[in-house]
Amino acid sequence: MNALFRGKGWSFGFRSAIMLYFVILIVLPIFGIYTQSFSLGWTPFWESISDPLAWKAVLLTVKLAVIATVLNMFLGTMIGWVLIRYRFPGRRFLNSLVDLPFALPTAVGGLMILLLLGPNSLVGGLAQKIGIEIVFHEPAIVVAMLFVTFPFVIRAIQPLLEEMDKSEEEAAYTLGATRTKTFFSVIFPTMLPGILSGAMLAFSRGVAEFGAVVLVAGNIPGKTLIASVYIFGEIESSNPQGAAAVSVLLLTLSFLILWTVNLIQGRRGGQ
């Protein structure tokens, strides 16, 4: 009896420790940021996010993340398809390379883009000659976002393509459907949930990205300053309340996206 009691005491302590860790590390900080942003009341919160530099940064972030996400949807669908369906030399190498942006520190990713597209590089020099500015302008931010979110769509559609029943596709061919028709009426609907949830994840990662972007963006307020860099600037200039207010805006957006992804995946699981 005594031993049993002691065993229970142990497991109770253990459970509490794990749950406490969870709450302190994840839940508490989120509460902290929401309370901090309203710590001085509604008016300062409203002032913080209605600062033109603040909402311009948020709008710019959303706009560029949308561009990167749309590019990602096309590239990701194509690459996911090619890597699963075709056999060609180097396929396995490319397939492992997909995860590179997850493994590589984002600051290193940013530095690579800076070196590759900067004014002293071949590409940057050429672009400058025809009057396109890449680095320290919007295109570089899109490239940085594209780089860090590259794996999401590919990794989301690959399992769907692998699981897909080939007989449906063959039936469509047998019934005389053209390749294009088969693709759009049989294959594409199977991939769609993957494309959408991958795109959502890519978008929320793009909006949140800091390391790769801060090095290539130039960070000119109102022009190439994105939201996470704006927040960083506010922290550096000792304005935690302003930083928290913009953070709340971004966080709420991210939560909505995460929730939507869960809904999409939940529906797929239910089918």
Binding site: G32, M78, Y86, P105, F150, S228
Partner: protein
Amino acid sequence: MMRRLWITLTYIVFGLLLIAPLIKIFTGSWADGWDGFIQGITRPQSLHALMMTGIIVVVVTALNTIFGIMLAMYLVRAEWIGKKLKRLLNSLVDLPFAVSPVIGGLMIVLILGPNTIIGTMFEDAGFKIVYALPGMILATLFVTFPLMVREVMPVLQEIGAQQEEAASTLGAYSWYTFWKVTWPSIRWGVIYGVVLTVARSLGEFGAVLVVSGNIMNKTQTATTLVYQDVENFNVVAANGVALVLAAFSVGLLLLMEWAKKRKEVH
């Protein structure tokens, strides 16, 4: 015909987006020759920064692995958590994925910073959290939190509780059951989770930058040093440190491939 077009396009995208940058980092760090590279990484601040990164990686990976496995087991198996609460906790696990790393760092500064109640308490006790190593570890723990849980949970769900229940009915102690029954099935998931955690903590930048204050030779990590070097237009030195990080990442990528293959077999 179409097939060839798609494959060529895939190669072009990979070449431009992934392979060219990777090559550039390798060639870039040799721009001033071997000496420039060696000088870049043997500066005192580089060595110190790499050491800080090493400490963070080791501590974070150990803590995240233990807590991640335990939490995954509770979220899948525990009967003492209600169904609704379990679902809520389950969705909260993904929070760090949705939060910008800068915001993650800001949250820690807001709660534990020098101007807060808790921060002052710790500081009076002679224990600095923010702008010191503990805060940087906390920030990295926050960012890597979901990685292990998300690797282990699906495996646990898949294998079901029957074997474990059988073992404990037969009188096996819970630790014994864990090592003999649960561990062999989750092993490859855990290893994959460890590789992901190492990669993420090695490369964490935003959260650590905010929490550490980026003080040279004190709280500077390898990634924040790269950032500072670039800001100071010292690109060759930045390249040296970046190359070390990139080499580690490529190694981790190979490990990831290997672990993934083993995971699929089991």
